[in-house]
Amino acid sequence: MTTDFQLPAIDYQAISPLLILFGVACLGVLVEAFVPRPARRRVQLGMALVGVLAALGAVVLLAGTNVVTAGGSVTVDGPALFMQGALLAFGVVALLLIGERRVEPGGAFVAQPAITVGSEADQRQASAPGATEVFPLAMFSLGGMALFIAASDLLTMFIALELLSLPLYLMCALARRHRLISQEAAVKYFLLGAYASGFFLFGVVLAYGYAGSVDLAAIHAAVDTSQMNPALLYAALALIVMGLLFKTAAAPFHVWAPDVYQGAPTPITAFMAACTKVAAFGALLRVTYVAFERLAWDWLPVIGVIAVLTMLVGAVLAVTQTDLKRLLAYSSIANAGFVLVGVLAVGRTGASSAMFYLVAYGFAVLGAFAVISLVRDREGETTHLSRWAGLGRRSPLVAGVFTVVMLALAGIPLTGGFTAKFAVFSAALEVGEGWLVIAGVVSSVIIAFPYLRVVVMMWLSEPSESTATMVAPGLLTGTALGIGALAVVGLGVVPGPVLDLAHDAALFLR
């Protein structure tokens, strides 16, 4: 065993986006401690937005970098930078939704989540301004996601996984209204998430046992040379992929998603749907393409079956839903299946189509949840489908945005959703995975029905007494809505620049 210790060389510029995110998160904790309560929200929101935008700027400046740094634990390459960029763009929109206080007095978050629901203290805090801890939590989570995508050894990936998950569990429990289901979502997400990361960790350990290192490139090299029992390698692969598929909400590891999406505060659901998906697929792509590429013939059929199952389960169960947040949760499951089709077209085209799909899906889903946060009655948000009947007659503008977003999710031409689906399906056809494309097209047709049903209900029904009211969006939600709608239409009408960017970026550095 070696006893001398050498300081690893760190390329600070290459990891500057991560440093900015974690720095702002730590500053946010200090702000909670030292800044007087009335000023906190402005300071926190401003700091978080500036931080994410600065990190986004740093990612843009790094474009074209290909470097492994920090003692071989962080890889900054094309896919990492592209997905970090997408992640941070979604982060900005999600932060706008998290910071909104016009729509609901005091914001979507409760002031003291620890106070027992229904107690006197709880009634007193009903109109108190919401907790601002959510901003540093969101920043830690974003930092963890950015690290997750760029991690080039499995230990760093595990740490990043926990770093992105733990704040998410907490944020799920912070809803101001419907606190019981919000807490229930948190406990379900926590128990299942910790369970899945236990599997992931054991997979990491077995990979270490097989290869003698957790470095992804070293595992790749060990696949041909290691003297250890190959059973270790296959068990490691299965457990690691299981842990990652849980985060992407792929069937049969999807059961947490509907409950958590429905129970969590809507801005956090938006954050989860857009950002966690990118982070999880970033890590999945890196693990399968970099560490286990030589085993592709072994994992392709298995993940292929999972992809088909995910698409069909998501699509069929979405049809039966009556709650919009739950419907979007099943839609996110189905979409995870579509991204998996891209992942399975192993190669540059596959990776770039999956990355483009994530961008198109993220903006659409952020827009959808932004609209959901606006439709309310006295009890808070009304997400039951029947309460949305006739909304189009009352507030055509916002209902129009929702229609565009739904059409994008359904994959209608001239929206980002169509381009994205076309990209993943043609990538799969190119490598001869026709069966995935057939399953994909069938599920796209099935899942178009629930999306279009919402649209039809909004526009073609007469508003009645039970129709919810649409609250006028404040500046923050309005901006988020605008970004979502523009991006969805933009990616459909002129997808070229982003497609090219994804294609140029889609080479993993080993």
Binding site: L155, E162, G263
Partner: protein
């Protein structure tokens, strides 16, 4: 004299006990203990493999896992406490508002 392979087998056994425990038990605290058992099984395997490969990194990783487990306890117990206070029960069967 037990060799490294015995420790790997023991760790796999502990991991399985934890994984099955999560599936069959109903109390959130017990579920959580089972998850911690899975993490500790991973630690045992890490240290064993470190010995097997003559590589210190495995032992260092075990420390990382311990820290992560500690952080997870903080978040997890806070959430379970929250549920227990409002429902007077830590059984996961009672958390049944969200379904289908």
């Amino acid at each position: 004299m037990p060799g490294p392979e015995h420790y790997v087998a023991l760790s796999a056994l502990l991991f399985t006990i934890g994984a099955v425990g999560v599936l069959v038990r109903r109390n959130a605290i017990v579920l959580f203990m089972c998850i911690e058992l899975m993490l500790n099984a991973a630690n045992l395997a890490l240290v064993t493999f470190a010995r097997l490969h003559g590589d210190l990194n495995g032992q260092v990783m075990a420390f990382f896992v311990m820290v992560v487990a500690a952080a997870e306890v903080v978040v997890g117990l806070a959430i379970i406490m929250l549920i227990f206070r409002t429902r007077r029960s830590a059984s996961v069967d009672d958390s049944n508002l969200l379904k289908y």
